[in-house]
């Protein structure tokens, strides 16, 4: 349960409102938004993380659907509104998490395999054949990696007894969590809609980025029968109306009107509607996406090409995505493993007690390096140590690590797209760290902007559902809702930036090849 920020000074007035469901990796949340994009109420429930073996991560999809119904009902009750006040419901979800279920009974045939799960490692290598991990990159924009849904479907068909036959007979449905929720909301076994949106489909390794359709050749190469696949729809349109489950009573007839993968929803919630607009979400790890308009740009710099969003029958908007494995997690490591600070926020206090990093650079390649290097043989280093270095310098190096890693992604984006990040919109827990945000502006040599709503992911889903149902007329109205809460402007001279960047890159080189096969 979460208390929504409410104020007595301004009431939220009369409806209608938009409900946004955020089906995330650790919890499901429902947030009710008003027309100004302000939060009216929130309800949240965590679900179990199931670890059957090292490297395997599963979710119980039945539990998730139960929680989804509870949090939607909870948020509506807390807001004190009825279905007449809810204009539409929008969905955003953890991406790539894969589920197969029985069309006739509505029962999952296996736990959902979560995006973090690495059980398809060997399968992905095998699927790469003599080409390697870029075998399907031109069509799908993605490397063959354990994250993506396609190989997970193949694993289930290979490992659950009798499943392939049932799938080929047309009894089995595949979906990422958006499909599972929409199918259940719109009636389940009684005519539920089996659909997914382009952003979620673009993370399966099965969709052709250019035609926005399932790629038959790749589906057959990976071993996914076409009968199981949902229909690919846009991110903002009415997929159906609420009919199913315990919500049938409470919300009957409310349109289900958007679906977006969580990072794409954040891009949408940050109103990055123009080419070159970028957002970066700072959590345990970091995901940065840049809008590349109607061009699906192939990456030669270790980024992923993905669909940003598609509104109804308008042209799709593409994005380049870069992910950093360890950002907030490094601060947690300093707190939990090193004990140098007692709360995450104290890293700023410690780092602020010195003027600079004292010559130390910290590359947190704890599980290898992600974008733009993709080196699994790398491990973390602290470079440039001398006797002069104190824990405060290390704290500074910890924050700088997040900034430099962001710069490396921004540079890769520029290289691939030719578009320079002119301003970076940020969200996530680490935006409370002022020193980090200033350092980010300094090393990017671009302003860093924090919006007033921290819940950009849920807001993105609400925006898309609102656009689909005429709650907001167009994206300009959404831009008008966007409010700047803070802005950091660059204050580092070019010479310092270049020198420091060079030293950072040198430290990165020191991490590579640490593991030997």
């Amino acid at each position: 349960m979460t208390d929504a920020p409410t104020t007595a000074s301004h009431s939220h007035g009369e409806g209608p409102f938009i409900a946004a469901l955020d089906q995330g990796t650790t919890s499901s949340r429902c947030i009710i938004f008003d027309r100004d994009g302000r939060i009216v109420s929130v309800d949240q429930k965590e679900h179990e993380q199931i670890f059957p073996r090292p490297g395997w991560v599963e979710h119980n999809a039945t539990e998730i659907w139960r929680n989804v119904q509870e949090v939607i009902a909870g948020a509506i009750t807390k807001a004190g509104v009825t279905r007449a006040d809810i204009q539409a419901i929008g969905i955003t979800n953890q991406r790539e998490t894969t589920l197969l279920w029985d069309r006739k009974t509505g029962q999952p045939v296996h736990n959902a395999i979560v995006w973090q799960d690495t059980r398809t490692d060997a399968l992905c290598k095998e699927l790469g054949r003599n080409v390697g991990q870029d075998r399907f990159r031109r069509e799908t924009g993605l490397p063959l990696a354990t994250y993506f849904a396609g190989p997970k479907v193949r694993w289930l068909l290979d490992n659950v007894e009798g499943l392939r036959e049932r799938a080929e007979a047309g009894d089995i449905l595949f979906g990422t969590m958006d499909s599972w929720v929409i199918w259940n909301l719109t009636g389940g076994v009684n005519g539920g809609r089996h659909v997914t949106d382009v952003t979620n489909a673009s993370r399966t390794l099965l969709m052709n980025l250019h035609s926005m359709e399932w790629d038959e050749r790749i589906c057959s190469s990976i071993g996914v029968p076409p009968q199981v696949l949902p229909e690919i729809r846009s991110s903002a349109e009415v997929y159906g109306e609420v009919r199913g489950g315990t919500l049938g009573e409470l919300l009957r007839g409310v349109p289900v009107a958007s679906a977006l993968g969580d990072q794409q929803a954040a891009l949408f919630g940050q109103t990055c509607f123009d080419e070159g607009e970028a957002k970066s979400t700072y959590g345990t790890g970091t995901f940065m996406l840049i809008n590349t308009a109607h061009k699906a740009i192939n990456s030669y710099s270790g980024l992923i090409t993905t669909v940003g969003y598609r509104i109804g029958d308008q042209q799709a908007v593409y994005a380049l995505e870069g992910s950093i494995a360890v950002t907030g997690a490094l601060v947690q490591w300093m707190r939990d493993q090193m004990g140098l600070i007692s709360t995450a926020a104290e890293i700023e206090t410690l780092a602020s007690s010195v003027e600079d990093n004292g010559g130390a650079y910290f590359v947190p390649a704890f599980s290898g390096l992600f974008a733009p290097y993709w080196r699994s043989d790398a491990r973390g280093v602290i470079a440039g140590l001398s006797r002069y270095v104190t824990k405060a310098h290390i704290a500074r190096a910890v924050l700088e690590a997040t900034a430099w890693q962001t710069k490396e992604i921004a540079d890769a984006m520029k290289k691939d797209s030719g578009v320079e990040v002119s301003a970076l919109k940020v969200d996530g827990g680490m935006t409370a760290n002022n020193l980090l945000m200033q350092t980010l502006a300094d090393v990017l040599d671009a302003p860093v902007v924090r919006p007033m709503v921290a819940e950009t992911t849920a807001l993105g889903a609400a925006y898309a559902a609102g656009l689909a149902t005429g709650f907001w007329p167009d994206v300009h109205a959404l831009r008008a809702n966007w409010r700047r809460a803070a802005e950091w402007t660059p204050a580092m001279d070019a010479e310092t930036r270049d020198r420091e960047y060079k030293l950072w890159l040198k430290a990165v080189q020191r991490t590579m090849g640490w593991l030997e096969d």
Partner: protein, 254 residues
């Protein structure tokens, strides 16, 4: 040189003795180690026990250091922790009030701005985190002076510079303003620091009801005030925000 207080010296010696290892000590061990009569030692130990500085094992009756000593060392609230707890609430305050929101703490005889949320319009604004404001004339400063005894004495000792014709400078008038602040639960600054600018602020308390900071909004006097008075809905929004942050820090409802 003034004479020291003997019982405090003895209490300090006892704490040092108990801190000198993992052992628990009985009354007679403590008394003999410090060369005290048992009755004297017991009186001091009982006082320390009531304050939570020592604990007594119920089974053996032996003494050890108390949890309160640990809390003493950790009671300081990190300002960055404060900002991170206040973030969502101050965003909502700026949004609902339409003015810029500030979070301030006492620092070197003034108010240090530790968090600033822009006024929610598209105008060009500069982040003021790290700036200092005077204690005696701003709403944030008055709140700190009214609730934090250290801020109070610093504000009284300092020269209270008149920034505008409306600045309250005399010690007597200043004390009256602080009394009013405590009675109302918020402080105002209507053109007392900057011409044309007004602000309102309320105190943030931690779980032990210690004043740890102040939160408020600042804006053009024409928007913040109506007929020369603060708009009541702004006062309510600021106080709601202060209560919400305090609740997040573990303070009970008040």
């Amino acid at each position: 040189m003034a004479r020291n207080i003997q019982s405090l010296e003895r209490a300090a010696a006892m704490l040092r003795l108990l801190a000198g290892g993992e052992r628990r000590l009985g009354l007679s061990d403590i008394a003999s180690s410090l060369g005290l009569a048992k009755g004297t030692a017991h009186g001091i130990l009982r006082t320390l026990h009531e304050e939570g500085f020592v604990e007594q094992d119920p089974a053996s009756g032996r003494y050890q250091l108390g949890a309160e000593l640990l809390r003493l060392g950790n009671s300081y609230l990190d300002v960055h922790e404060l900002r991170s707890r206040a973030l969502v609430w101050t965003d909502d305050l700026a949004r609902s009030s339409g003015e810029s929101a500030y979070l301030g703490v006492l620092h070197q005889h003034g108010v240090l701005i530790v968090h600033h949320v822009f006024r929610p319009d598209d105008s060009r604004q500069v982040l003021e985190v790290g700036a200092m404001q005077p204690l005696h004339s701003t709403a944030l400063g008055k709140v700190l002076s009214a609730y934090d005894p250290v801020a109070h004495s610093e504000a009284l000792e300092a020269e209270r510079k008149p920034y505008t014709a409306r600045t309250v400078s005399s010690a007597e008038d200043f004390e009256a303003v602080l009394d009013l602040t405590r009675a109302r639960g918020y402080a105002a600054d209507i053109e007392e620091t900057w011409e044309g600018v007004a602000s309102v602020a309320a105190p943030i308390h931690d779980r032990r009801h210690m004043p740890v900071g102040a939160v408020g909004v600042t804006g053009a006097v024409e928007r913040v005030c109506r007929a020369g008075e603060l708009r009541p809905e702004l006062v309510a929004a600021v106080r709601d925000c202060a209560r919400a942050v305090s609740r997040d820090l573990g303070a009970g409802r008040f």
